[in-house]
Structure formats: structure tokens, C-alpha cells
Symmetry: C2
């Protein structure tokens, strides 16, 4: 709403607001059935206290013009009697559509959107995103692959394709999944536009209004975007150094009817922890006992640095309880938007019909290119190269943290993936640290983005994949300096000495 | 299911069916959780009476092997006892998950899925799909464009991108849309994975449970996939030779609360009719008076053969009521999966947040390639070429229809697009014609696919874009022969003489 307040006027602010809203309703600029902005939002816009808005709304409600609607907000219920305009031309003077009031659902999807940190200095070093390093892309090999597939089958790659995906890639991935014990029959796989779409399709297929989803806490913001809807319950299950806490999950399953469990067993995002084998088996047993499917998001699975990967949940699952999701976005090429789901046949069938209704099929040129790279062994070769480099960067970041971070901060060495999770001393807010760090030329993701419900404000995620080792050292140095400055002012404000170091204690 | 009945046996047919299904379950060929075909469908397949199937299913249900699930069909619930394998493990004996029962919603999306007609002979001529002709793709130009953009900006095309789309393409399309009066501000455009995704995003953003959508009838099956949900009402509005019937739409709007209108004003799919300018203005006025947004699906808009295109609804809309959707799939390259939406800013903002939650963004390599083609003027050049060729093919098909179709069939000349809509004589079922035509080596789409509610069974859509002129002539000749055969047997069955020709009467 476009309201203009005169702070010098003798008319109280709440009356100014009430009379302007009244005028907007009279003029049909806001109509019966339209929703007014939440008082919190309008207070923010007008830079007044929330009580001022509440008072204005109470005024309008007393006039019978607006009314609350439980759980939905405040709506215009009537027009002021005197202001009913005479209508000359039938169509004339109609106000524009109030789109906000037509929209279905308050999207929680800002979880992904909010996530973006923009650097404030040109030389900013970013530890903010879990992305591959573009400098490591095997460009010439990919360029040749694109060209080759295009020469070989251009016409069919430009034409409409099959909803399940480009057949050669589907077969290749099926073979790879079969070798890891993830897939049993070739029709258990669907190619999607990446893990984000896989989650969305699974949500739309399995999660109905009122359903509950159990999710690791903290977790990937994109999963929160999908599952945190107005009409679902998302239950956060804590994560410890051995992965999601099985005992806590059992408590949840025993007392609440859960429709779906979402887990990232390898190098969990954001904590970097890996679910240990015994816990994997227990998780499968729980799911079996309570008959709850598990989404195994294995997007980081190929990025194991210290020895081979642990067996996927899906390979331990004899009963078809696990829906396995992965993609090529972390091993390499998120811009191509290709991922896949392995699931029992009836579910793959339904997901593929849903996928068709969403966007027909994944784009063919990208699928064929990835297949061509895989066929030539270049995907495996690239994976080996980035595993080695990312492991070195992880080690450099760990070393830099030891050197530049105060003893009161703690973290754990992840055995793969893209990030290190740091717990700052109690009372230190990572968002406040980010503000200072930005000025110092380094950015990261405050932990608050990753939590269901109230976040642990003193947590942060540092990714080590997109920056070279010298930058990692310099970035951590800058970050350590910013942290020390914050801690000093924290102490100066009389907030006491931060907790002693808890390095290597359970921290997530 | 692959069942074989022995009509000469002394064993009743229902027992033969029951015992064969039992064997399939025992052999794990049909598994617990699988859905059995509806009795109607299976009866059709086996060419037995529906009661026979009901009896067989009752038998299996009495054995405890299958069970009905209200509104969802009949499912396998257990395996025959003797076949249950012994299990050692402690959790053993729990039956596998019953996926069908876990799924949210019976998808009506089979509308797209059902649509596929498979040729039964290798030399089949297809008039079934509204696709571009792959033989006309400017392959060498595209290959060079892919290679060029890859060389120029490979690393950023492989990396994660912006949710609104690849900026140069977005700017190019914005310019093109601005020139047609469709777009006013550069931030009114979002790049999607094609019109299908645009419809899905709009549906998820604007259509809530219980809402009604007014849609042209007949219409694009993919729109029915999106809007025909268990919890929405889809109101079909008839289409006449001037496009959607405005008076009928007004009746609907006056008596029902409609959330959204879906229209294809240019070369409507499947009827080929174009909404005339006076009707376009009246449509906008109606939407304005009743405050209902319109989706203008202009996917065929660029394929105008007889003079320039009429003004888009969006260009006539002064009030931001129209959501404009288009794509590159009909002008050329559906395999690349790229389309766009132009809409008022608050809606584009919300759609883009939704898009991000669905799959982050459209794939970058395809977007950059299309931009490169456009930048070099090759997209326009290609458009000119296909307009000319498709127009010639349309004319050849019209001529062949005159020559080979009986006088009782009627059709209209479309001024663009990809298809001709044919009305067969009353009493002739286009699906029955398809069965005969398939054997004769030609396929098409029966009109039934395109209807909301009860279809007009005597309608069919013939596309003329994927086949050369000699094939069009031969295909229509085959089709005319099949039609005459069907009409002859129709008369022989004493169904009277079909209606006299109504060519050029209102026919849709």
C-alpha cells in the first residue's frame, strides 16, 4: 500500500494510516476480499512501531471495514457507506488487480532466495556457496562433447523427448546405480532437472496437506523451500557427529505420524557430518518399522576425500523404502540442471507423470552431453581431479581456522563435501559477524539459513570449493580478524567471557 | 497384464483370469502395491464383459490377494501364502510399502501421457503431434552457435545461474515483447522450461483448492493436466469460428466465481481458430469487469501464414490482467525446453521464487544458444522459412482433404499453427477411425483428448508440420479410405445415413 505519513502532523500516525486506508477502500483501490499487509510488514515499510499499525487496524475494524481471518490475516470486509461511487461507464475507473490477494500461498521459498549474500567489495572472498569451482571445469572436453553429440544426433536432441529422460544417459546412470547397489531394475530411474526438482516432485507426489515431514536440523535451505509449506508440519531432528540422531528420530516416529524422512547421509549440508554405517542400518530399520519412506539426498556422495564412500541407505534397503536422489551439480555442472531419482517402480511411474505435467522432460542437449562425457570416462576423471583438489582446500581451510580463529570457536573435519561448519562462542551472532566480515572482504553463510525453527545463531557454514588455497588462507585470516573484533566488542558490552573452547565436542 | 483366455475351455473365463493373476502375483510379476487395471480397461483388453472381470477380482479379493482402495482402484495386497519366502532377519515379515496408498493425488496428468499414439507399421505417416519438423532445423547454424557460446562463456554456462534466466536472453526477449506491446518494464519477464512449466507455475501460484478455472473447450491436453485437479473446477467454454465464445464466457463469469481464464487466441490448439480482434477486446473487458486474470498461451503465435499476427491480448490489456506465455518449442526446438512468461511485476516475482523452489533455474547452455541464434538473426530467418513451408503443407493437406474425404466431413482453414481440426459425420467415432487408420499406416489425434468433460467423439486433429507434402497426400488418402470403410460399416449396421455435409458451418 502506498501510504504517506506526516510525522510532524498533530494527527496521530495510527489515525493517518486508518484514514488513508479508509480512503483507498472508498476509492476501490483496495477491495472487499483483499488482504491487508500483515502489521509487521506494514510497520517495516512505514518505519513505525507495529503497535501503530495494530491501532490503525483496530480503528478500521471498529468501523466495520476490515476483519481478521484466523491464520490468514486481515481482510477488507466492507466499503464505507457514503463513499459508494456512482458508476457512469460500466467499466471505467476499475482499480488494477491486487495480485497479492489473488496468490495462493505465502511462499516459504524465500528460504532459497534469502540465502544469497552479495559481496560488498570487488575483492571479496566468498565462502558462501556450495558450488563447484568453474576454473576446474574440463572445458575443452565438454566443448568437444557438446559438439560431438550435436553432430551425431542434433535433430533428435532439439526435438521433443521422452518424459523419463534421454535413454542412453538413463541406461548409463542405471548401470552406475546398479553397481553401487542402489538400483535393481532399469525402470527404477527418472531423470530430472536436478535434486531441487526431484525434491519438489517427491513432495507433490507424497506429501498431502496436514502431513508431517521429518528433516535433519540444520539442513539444505532448498529442502526447507519445498517442505515448509503453510499446510505441512516439518519436524527438525538434531544432527550429531555421527549424523542425524537416530534416537531423536525414533522419538519423533513413535509419537507422531510422519509421512517422509529427508536425510543427507554423506557430508551433510550444512554440517559436513557423515551418517555412520551402524546408524544407517538403524535408520533403515526405523523406517521399516514405522513404514515411512526416506529421501536419501546424495548430492555430495561422490565428493568423498578420505577413502571410499559408505554404503548408500538405498543399498542397505531391502524393502524399497528409500527414494534415492542425486545430480551432476556438485560433481560438476549445475548450469546444465540434470539430476535423477531412483525409487520403486510405482513411485517412479507417478513421479514421471508429474514431471511431464511440470515441464515435459529434462533438456536433451545437456543430458546427451553428460552422457558423452561419462561414456568417454571424462566424468570419472574429472571427479578424481576435483576430489583431490577439494580435499587439499578443505585441509588448507582447517589449517587456517586453527591459525586465525580464537580457541572458543569449534569445528569438525568433514570427510568430503564442500563445507566446514563452525560453531562460534555462545552469544556471538554469525549474522552480525557477516556484516563486519563483508566490510573486511569475506562472506559466508550464517547458520540461521539452515534451521527449521529457531536457529542457533552462533553457527556458520564455510565452503572451500570455489576458492584457491591462497584465497582460503587470506579469507580465513580476514574472517578471524572480524570475529576477534566482534568478540572484543561483545566482551566490552559486558556480555561476559565467551565459553571456553569446545573444539571436537559435539557441535551441530 | 498379459493374460490368455481359452474361450473353448470348460473353466469359466473369470476363473481363468483369477488363476492367471494369482500366478503373476506368486511369480512376483505383479507385486504387492501394484494397481490392477480397472475392470473396464481389462474387459476391453480381453474383449470380455466387465462382469467377468468383476467376478475374477471378487475371487482374488476373497483369497485376500487384492483389495479395493476407495477412489483409487484395486491393488495387490498380499502374495499367495505358499509363495512367501522364509526370512531370517528380525524385522522380517513386514510387507513392503504400499506406494499407491501413500501417494497424494490421482494425477489427471494421464491427459498428456495418454495422448501418445504409437504407430503400428514402420511406414506409418503421423499427423498426431504438433511438433516442428526436425528436418528443417538449421543444424549447422545451431551447432556453430552452441560451440561459440561455449567457447565464449563455458564456465559461467556450466555454473549455477540466476533464477530469472540467462540475462542476455531475458533482455532480448524483453525487447521482442516490448516491440509487440506485450511488455512495459524489463522486470516483467521470467524464463521457464517452456509453456508447460509456465502453466504449472501459474497454477501453483494462483489456483487454490476449490478454485474454478475457465478454459477453452476443446483445449491443449497439457493445460488439462495442470488445471484438472481433484480439488479444482475446470469450466469448459465452447470455441466457435471466431475463437472462444465470449457470450458463453460471460455467462460463466456472471454466475460463477472464476479464478483464472486460459486462452490460446492464435491458431487455437486443437481447433486452429483465431480469436478475432473485436472478441479480443471483449475478452479483455470481461476479464476487467469480473477482475479475473487471463493466461494468454501464445505458443503458436509466431506461426502465422496469412498476413501479420493479430494484436496479442496482452498488448490490448491496459490493466495488467493478462499473463502472457510463449516458448521456442513450436518455432523450433522443444528438446531445449525454454519458454517465458510476461506478467505484472508482483506476479513475476512470485513465479520466479516458485520456479527457484521447483528447479532453481532453466538450463543455461540452451538459453545461451537460443540467444546466440537470435542475436545473429538466425531465429527470425528460421521462422520465415518454416512459416512458408508449413503454410504450403497446410494447403496441401486442405487440398488432399477435399479430394479424399467424404462430403459429410467438415473442417476449416487455419490461418497459422500446426493443425487442422476435422469434424466427422455424426455417429463416426474418431477413436474407432484411428484403430482402422493405424492398420492402414496413418495416425492422428482423436478429438477426445482435448475435451473437458464429455468429448465430441466425431472430431479429430491432423497436424501438418512434421510430414512432407507427398506424405501428407498419401496419409490423407489412406485416412480417407479408412474413413469411407468405417462409414460404410456404420451404414451397414443400420445406423442411418450420416448427416449431410456441413463444411464451413460452425464446427468446433
Amino acid at each position: 500500500m502506498n501510504l504517506h505519513l506526516d510525522h510532524d502532523s498533530h494527527t496521530p500516525l495510527y489515525e493517518q494510516i486508518a484514514s488513508q486506508v479508509r480512503a483507498l477502500i472508498a476509492a476501490d483501490r483496495i477491495r472487499v476480499g483483499d488482504r491487508l499487509p500483515p502489521s509487521r510488514v506494514l510497520a517495516g515499510e512505514l518505519k513505525v512501531h507495529r503497535t501503530t499499525i495494530s491501532n490503525a487496524y483496530a480503528e478500521l475494524e471498529a468501523d466495520g471495514l476490515i476483519g481478521p481471518h484466523v491464520g490468514r490475516g486481515t481482510f477488507v470486509t466492507a466499503r464505507p457507506a457514503a463513499a459508494e461511487p456512482a458508476r457512469a461507464a460500466p467499466d471505467a475507473g476499475l482499480p488494477p488487480l491486487f495480485w497479492e490477494a489473488l496468490m495462493v500461498e505465502e511462499p516459504h521459498t524465500d528460504r532459497l532466495h534469502e540465502f544469497h549474500q552479495y559481496p560488498s567489495r570487488p575483492d571479496t572472498i566468498s565462502f558462501a556457496y556450495a558450488l563447484p569451482d568453474s576454473d576446474m571445469f574440463p572445458l575443452e572436453a565438454i566443448r568437444r562433447s557438446v559438439d560431438r553429440v550435436f553432430r551425431k544426433e542434433g535433430p533428435s536432441l532439439l526435438q521433443l523427448g521422452e518424459r523419463l529422460g534421454y535413454e542412453p544417459l538413463r541406461k548409463y546412470l542405471a548401470g552406475r546405480m546398479r553397481a553401487s547397489g542402489i538400483l535393481r531394475a532399469d525402470d527404477e530411474i527418472l531423470i530430472t532437472n536436478g535434486c531441487q526438482q526431484s525434491l519438489d516432485l517427491i513432495d507433490r507426489t507424497l506429501v498431502a496437506s496436514g502431513d508431517a515431514v521429518a528433516i535433519e536440523n540444520p539442513t539444505y535451505p532448498g529442502a526447507l523451500s519445498v517442505f515448509l509449506r503453510k499446510d505441512t508440519r516439518v519436524i527438525g531432528v538434531p544432527v550429531s557427529e555421527r549424523g542425524v540422531e537416530i534416537a531423536a528420530l525414533e522419538e519423533v516416529l513413535a509419537h507422531q505420524r510422519v509421512k517422509l524422512i529427508y536425510s543427507v547421509p554423506n557430508f551433510q549440508n550444512p554440517t559436513g557430518v557423515t551418517l555412520q554405517v551402524a546408524e544407517r542400518r538403524r535408520l533403515i530399520q526405523l523406517a521399516r518399522r514405522y513404514r515411512v519412506p526416506i529421501i536419501e539426498d546424495d548430492i555430495y556422495g561422490d565428493l568423498h576425500f578420505d577413502g571410499p564412500a559408505l554404503p548408500p541407505l538405498k543399498a542397505l534397503d531391502q524393502d524399497g523404502l528409500v527414494i534415492y536422489s542425486s545430480s551432476i551439480s556438485k560433481m560438476g555442472f549445475p548450469g546444465l540442471r540434470i539430476g535423477w531419482v531412483v525409487a520403486p517402480r510405482p513411485l517412479v511411474e507417478r513421479l514421471s507423470v508429474r514431471k511431464q505435467s511440470c515441464d515435459l522432460h529434462a533438456n536433451l542437449l545437456a543430458q546427451a552431453t553428460i552422457y558423452e562425457l561419462a561414456r568417454q570416462g571424462l566424468l570419472e576423471k574429472h571427479l578424481k581431479r576435483i576430489r583431490k583438489t577439494y580435499a587439499e582446500r578443505r585441509d588448507a581451510m582447517l589449517q587456517a581456522l586453527e591459525e586465525h580463529f580464537p580457541g572458543e570457536a569449534c569445528w569438525r573435519k568433514p570427510s568430503g563435501g564442500m563445507a566446514i561448519w563452525v560453531e562460534l562462542p555462545d552469544g556471538i551472532d554469525a549474522s552480525a559477524l557477516l556484516d563486519v566480515a563483508k566490510e573486511g572482504g569475506v562472506i559466508f553463510s550464517p547458520g540461521a539459513h539452515f534451521y527449521v525453527g529457531p536457529p542457533r545463531a552462533n553457527t556458520m557454514r564455510l565452503t572451500f570449493t570455489t576458492t584457491g588455497i591462497p584465497q582460503i588462507r587470506e579469507g580465513v585470516r580476514r574472517l578471524g580478524a572480524a570475529l576477534k573484533r566482534i568478540m572484543k566488542s561483545h566482551r566490552a558490552r559486558g556480555n561476559g567471557t565467551p565459553q571456553p573452547g569446545r573444539r571436537n565436542a559435539a557441535l551441530v
